[in-house]
Symmetry: none
Subunit: 433 residues, 2 copies
């Protein structure tokens, strides 16, 4: 037996105007996923009776399960009960269980039962109550056109508890035993979505259809998601994940367990494990690399000092970069960026350094060093490497991407990897002196 088709219907004017961003549907999706269920369609409408009725009729015709969220409150724009009654061609009547709930709710708070409260007890005839520990409005369910409809409150804390304690167990009872969903998420940096897709097509042409592969472009990490929907596919997954990891090589950062991590978090963890410290000498990123590192809790174990040397004078005064070197080669040059790294290492006594100097734009570019040119130096006193890249983006994206590239370069150095990352392969640039 296949999985039931589930749809959501969200109601609320504030969802349509954009004044609030809907997070309830993500919560519902996460909860249902634990049952192996996915949501096929999500419809959001304003608090409009006719629209609601039309959607309820359409969706119950398509789906096996419909979860309606919102519109259970005490005000006149809360229309869910009324819409369901109209759609199912029944009447609204006072539900004794709902009345008992609202009465108890008011008593507990020493408040009088008023007309808005009573409105919340008027529900479609014959529906079942879903109790609500956290609010005055009860939820309710009914079956229409062979579709089970759950009506839930819009307040997230009320929805959460109702889902966990009532709706999920109720759905689970009705599910076939063979429904399994297993998801693996892999964080990747140094290869883009389209290059990776191409690589997989070439290296793993017989990728099995039963292992769904999805991409989610983050800034800046890419997430690769492997989903399986059967026990056989899940058993197959380990093997194919291994193959994929070989294709990903050094671009693979980590498997996501609870929540995704940033590159800076990975780096701080790695440095702390190895008891190494790092310093930064930043021109065109202006402190962003240091701020990414120090955004991580516990960064003090590996970071003591950073140098934002935005002007040439600051490069010389703070990091002892000879002004002659800057005059001769320009601030955006291999010589200067390596001297910045050496200077930062000497001044801070850190084990590792990152130094950057580039043209963030939108002004300041030249034919030899166009906007987007960046010299990066990284390494230890003993071994400083450097590369020149061309990252022709907007100023903010240039700064953000190059800052993350430097973190990744140190990560690769710590991993002692030899593979050249895509951003060097594809973006290496021969800046003229």
């Amino acid at each position: 037996m296949s999985a039931p088709q589930v749809q959501l219907l969200l109601t609320g004017n504030e969802l349509m105007t954009g004044d609030i961003v809907d997070s309830n549907s993500a919560m519902i999706a996460h909860e249902l996923k634990e049952l192996g269920l996915t949501i096929s369609k999500k419809t959001t409408v304003a608090d409009d009776l006719n629209l609601l009725v039309a959607e309820i009729i359409t969706i119950t015709h398509q789906a096996d399960i419909l979860i309606i969220n919102g519109g259970l409150g005490p005000t006149i724009d809360d229309l869910t009960a009324q819409a369901l009654a109209k759609a199912t061609n029944t009447t609204i009547t006072e539900h004794p269980e709902a009345l008992a709930h609202v009465t108890a709710w008011c008593n507990k708070r020493n408040s009088e039962l008023n007309a808005p409260n009573l409105k919340q007890t008027m529900l479609p005839k014959g529906c079942d109550i879903i109790s609500n520990r956290n609010g005055s409005a009860v939820g309710f369910s009914l079956i229409f056109q062979n579709c089970i409809v759950y009506c839930t409150p819009g307040v997230p804390s009320e929805l959460k508890i109702m889902l966990a304690e009532q709706i999920k167990p109720h759905i689970k009872q009705q599910l076939p035993d063979n429904l399994i969903c297993d998801v693996t998420r892999l964080q990747v940096f140094g290869i883009g979505e389209s290059s990776l897709q191409k690589l997989i097509n070439e290296a793993l042409p017989d990728w099995p259809e039963s292992i769904e592969i999805g991409f989610r472009a983050g800034s800046p990490l890419l997430e690769v998601k492997l989903s399986t929907y059967s026990q056989e596919a899940t058993q197959l997954k380990d093997l194919w994940q291994e193959k994929l990891l070989r294709v990903l090589g050094d671009n693979f950062i980590a498997q996501v367990k609870e929540k995704p991590f940033t590159l800076a978090e990975h780096l701080v963890k790695k440095l702390t494990e190895k008891q190494l410290t790092i310093t930064t000498a930043e021109s065109c990123t202006g402190g962003l690399i240091a701020s990414l590192i120090t955004s991580v809790s516990g960064a003090s174990a590996c970071f003591e000092a950073g140098y934002v040397t935005y002007s040439n004078k600051a490069k010389s005064e703070m990091l002892d970069v000879p002004s002659k070197l800057i005059e001769q080669y320009g601030a955006v040059s291999q010589q200067v960026v390596e001297a910045m790294a050496q200077g930062a290492l000497a001044k801070s006594s850190a084990d590792l350094a990152i130094a950057v100097s580039g043209v963030a734009g939108p002004d300041g570019g030249s034919e030899d060093k166009p906007v987007g040119t960046i010299w990066i130096a990284w390494g230890s006193k003993k071994a400083i490497q450097s590369e020149c890249l061309l990252l022709p983006y907007t100023r903010q994206k240039f700064q953000h991407y190059s800052a993350n590239i430097t973190l990744d370069l140190i990560r690769r150095k710590l991993n002692k990897t030899t593979q050249t990352p895509c951003y060097i392969k594809e973006r290496a640039f021969q800046a003229k002196q």
Copy 2:
């Protein structure tokens, strides 16, 4: 003539699984509202060809305008073009304008045009291109069942610019003249939404109903939006805007013309006008203040050097803060933060300095100096001021908010204002030594 019916169709597996929370539809709703348009229904489906086709047919039958968001990317789960072709019973062909865009995009990045890139040029026959300044995928539009369909990318930065520059003007052209909507947006910092609402209620109790007042909490600027929907109301607005500005006082930053500005942009502009330079000495913000300033194009006119002194040793070595002072009062103290500011002024020869030292958390707090404590010093050699605040937020929010507070303090100093901002009134904290 009445307003056209607008619907949204969002596509993406990640929207269905709850892995990302949709903020694009709020952005679209806000933009359309400025044209006086509201969205009547929003449908979200997974990356499933048949579902997409069915929804396109249904929605174009109901609506006058359909905006599709997502599914334009280079991977096989990006299905919008294919779905539209199937729904409109046409074929997918290589669009010369799209090809030119992708080719230019790849050339600019020195990367080869690959098959996934080429996929992005295959569009429904006869569609019009919507250009994309920020990404590889172009948008496109076509008319089906008397409904104009705009296909837009899921990446928020790309969507934003496409909406502002292409789609809004295009929709506006087709709107009847009697749909007038006039929006004024005011940027505010230093007073919260509920405090401001209270202030307005008290100071301007007879605020006219025809001038809709809305708030949009940004990070960190608050935007106050005045919308009018008739010529009379628009004529009335100037007067009331004047009154509102008096209520806002020094908390008013600027009126938004094209796009909202950051506090750092305002500050860099002000400093450059006055030919003043600024430096930063950062402990708990770890370079964030410097990076906010240098994220602004042209920052080099007012910013030369910044000091990220995360450890006590760095404070002494880089800024000559006496280590005895740190031992005696602790790194998070008025004495140390003022010495940091003095040190940064002396080292950099800048006219103005910002210095911060605090407990960003989640660890490192004590009873006397709990997580969220921050000492801020700001000013010139002649006049350094300092304040201690308690900002009990998550680490990232603490860092971001306090960095922006420091920019605002300098802004107020340059404006020679005397009004105390709310963040000092409400968050001032007596940290014990």
